[in-house]
Every structure is written in structure tokens, then in C-alpha cells.
Symmetry: C2
Subunit: 245 residues, 2 copies
């Protein structure tokens, strides 16, 4: 038995999320369909985590067990010729049998992109949230800073979360300015359900001057979802990278 | 009567070119359909030039005559709420009656974008030509330089051209490197039919080492389409800007 680990990029626009579902088009469904053609096995893949409908990925990671002897350097190309144009395998490597894409993950980076131009850039319309009113970038940056460290992120977690607790460590929280685009980039040891989107929804209220940046810490410490802003749309969210030790 | 000039951006992927055609989906067709709704007039728009099927634009310009009294600052927004998501008006202004988007144009800039990564960036897959084999950028740059100036561009013009001559002036010809992306950017007083795509097709042969960069001048001076490389696919081509005096 071999344990194959792959890095995959996908455009979430036309997917009903990552996780396989009987009737919907999902990233996992497409990958498993192609793996079955190549290996003649009923393979189940395990990702570093799910992404919701409409969320994109540049560097999602998954693994699977197979007895197929396809050389690892051929796997990515063989899959890409059979995958639809909105999913692409970027890398394949063989890992020890105890490697697990979710359990072994050490850090993840998510980026939420906003187009803050009066008119959005048409060519990124599926990958950035358009906010035509100028945002207060300094206020947003100030608010972001208090998220770094180990905290209970219940205020920034969907009430549908089924996790036993919401304590996570954020290593980096940056607001990157690129002309009319703004990127909220968070790196942490893990993220709770809808965490980046709720943080973004709250930062948008701060950027609009509807919440003061000093409130961010009070919202965080309140451990109450109703204190935070709304969940920002999936469209601007992308899983940038997952790293392992 | 008023003469309204607009700047428009479009994603050419799902259009059969700019120019209106009875049965096909075209940019002009969409714009004229929306103008009819807003003005109740059968308006015909005049662009700075056509773009072929699959070619994109960031700053195409067109004008039209109307007796509608819609304030110019409202026009863009009123149109954008009715236009499909792959066409967007960026600017509208009233011009003297003798302004003509094509005849008055002084300079145009086109850009052809290549993704030279082993794996392409999935999110730009409709806007860049993927060339997985590393291109010789120095050779391409050397070849580009000889295009600057006033020349007969017959070698880089489709044989389907109906123009009386193919003399054009190129003010700038640049190869811009942006990580794994390469952009061939040309600014000139005008471009013949398929000119940027044939120049790109020739530069790709040079980048692949199949034609020597010194050949570029000989191809240009030969004034014979059969000397140049093939016409590169529409996908990577974008009309960046049209400028007026």
C-alpha cells in the first residue's frame, strides 16, 4: 500500500464545496472519479479540511491510500488531462503511511480578497468581493492585530460548528494592499467553521466605520457569535497554503 | 443631439467578438440592447476597433449619438445594472459632436499574456496562454526591439486583411516579466488584423529556439505573411487602453 499526497488548486465558483455529496458537483467528487479511472480502485481522499461552496484553493492538500503502481511523477499529469478545467493537481508525492493531510497539518494560510475600486476588476470578479465604498484600511489593520496569538474564537465561529472548542492560534494576521485590492491574510494552526469569513465581515464593518477598531478585542473576548459582524460571502476566500513539518 | 463616449471592459471568453452579428452573442450586441432599454432609441455604437472572438478588453472605447437626456454620470451605473457580468462600463463622458472613437484614436495598447509556469495559474486560465516549456526571454526581448518605429507590417497581418496598406507605427514594444507570467505589450498608432497575435506566435517560436531572434527583422522586412509564425490563440490577448489627444 502507498500513501500519496497531492497539492490541488481549484476555482470554487462552480463547485458545491470540497466534500463529496451524492448529487452535487464537488471537488472531492471530481478527484475521486478520476482516481477511479486511473487506479481502478474506489479511492477515498482525505483533505486538510473542507472548503465551503464558492471558496477557492491555491494549495489545498489531500492524501489517499492506493496499491496502484503509477509513478508519483506521472500522477499529476495523468490526473490533469482527465480533470475539468477548474481543478488542477500541482504536485504529487509519496509519503510515509502515517501521514494524514488533516492530522499532520501544522499551519494553514487563508486569504480573503476585496476589490475596493469604484468599478471592480472584471477579470477577478469570481475571486474578490467588490466593496465600492472606500474602506478605512488603517482601522482594519489595527483591528486585525489583536487576533494574533492563542484565543478562543467562538465569536468568529458559525453557531453550526460541531467542534468541542474553538481555541486556535493565529501566527500572522495581515492586511495587504495592492492598488484597489485588499487582502486579509491569516496564518494559523487551524481555523474554525466560517472563521475567516466572520472575521472579514467584522473587519468590513470596521472599515465602513460602523464598529470602532478597539471593539475587535472586546468582540473576541466576549466569546459570543452575536457580537461579531456577518459572515462575508464565500467568493473572496481562498485557501492559500497548508504546511507540514 | 449628444455624443457620448464610454470606456468598457469585457471578458471575451463567452463572446463571439466585439462586433454585432445577427445570431451570436457579441459585446456590441449586449451594449446596444441595454442602450435601447435606457434611451428607447435604436442606437448604434462605434468602437475604437473590433476585437476578435475570445479577445478581452480593459479599456475599449466607443461612442454613440443620442438625444436622451440621461446625465452622463448616471449612464455607467444605469448600464452596469443591466449588462451581463462579463461587460462593464468604466467611464462615460460627453464629447464634441466630431469626436469619433475610431478616427480620433491616437494610440492603442495591446497586451498578450503567457503563463510560462509548469502548471498554469488556474485563476487566470481564461486570460493567459499556457506555455509549459520555459521560454528564452532574452531572445524574445531582442526580437521585439526591431518592431519599434514605422514599418510595413504585412508579414504580421492576416491575409484576410482588407486594408489598403499595413504601415503602422509602434511606439513601445515591451516584454514584461511577472514571475511565471510573461506579457508582450505593444503600443502603437494602430494595429493590423491579427497583428499582435501573429507577432506573439512568432515570438513564441523564437522563445522556443526554433527561430533566431535576428530573423525577426528579416521577417518584418520581407512583407510576406508566410515568413512569420502562426497566429497565437485569442485567449491571451487584451486591449489595454485607447488614448486620444
Amino acid at each position: 500500500m502507498r500513501n500519496i499526497c497531492m497539492k490541488v488548486s481549484y476555482d470554487g465558483t462552480k463547485f458545491n464545496g470540497f466534500q463529496a455529496q451524492p448529487k452535487d458537483r464537488t471537488v472531492q467528487g471530481e478527484i475521486e472519479r478520476v482516481l477511479k479511472i486511473l487506479t481502478k480502485e474506489d479511492i477515498v481522499i482525505h483533505a486538510s479540511g473542507r472548503t465551503d461552496a464558492g471558496v477557492h484553493a491555491r494549495g489545498q492538500v489531500f492524501h489517499f491510500l492506493t496499491s496502484s503502481q503509477i509513478p508519483v511523477e506521472r500522477f499529476a499529469i495523468a490526473m490533469n488531462t482527465r480533470l475539468p478545467e477548474d481543478v488542477m493537481i500541482l504536485e504529487a508525492r509519496e509519503m510515509p503511511l502515517d501521514f494524514h493531510a488533516r492530522h499532520s497539518a501544522k499551519r494553514k494560510t487563508y486569504r480573503y480578497s476585496i476589490d475596493n475600486g469604484k468599478f471592480p476588476d472584471l477579470f477577478g470578479r469570481h475571486y474578490r468581493l467588490h466593496v465600492p465604498v472606500p474602506l478605512n484600511r488603517e482601522a482594519m489593520r489595527k483591528a486585525l492585530a489583536c487576533l494574533v496569538g492563542t484565543h478562543d474564537f467562538t465569536s468568529f465561529t458559525s453557531t453550526r460548528s460541531t467542534k468541542p472548542h474553538h481555541v486556535r492560534t493565529i501566527y500572522e494576521a495581515k492586511l495587504i494592499e495592492e492598488g484597489q485590492f485588499l487582502h486579509i491574510e491569516l496564518t494559523g494552526n487551524g481555523f474554525t467553521y466560517n472563521m475567516v469569513r466572520i472575521i472579514t465581515g467584522t473587519l468590513l464593518k470596521i472599515g465602513h466605520g460602523k464598529i470602532k477598531p478597539e471593539q475587535m478585542r472586546i468582540i473576541l473576548e466576549g466569546c459570543d457569535r452575536s457580537l461579531a459582524g456577518p459572515t462575508a460571502q464565500a467568493i473572496g476566500l481562498i485557501l492559500i497554503d497548508v504546511s507540514y513539518s
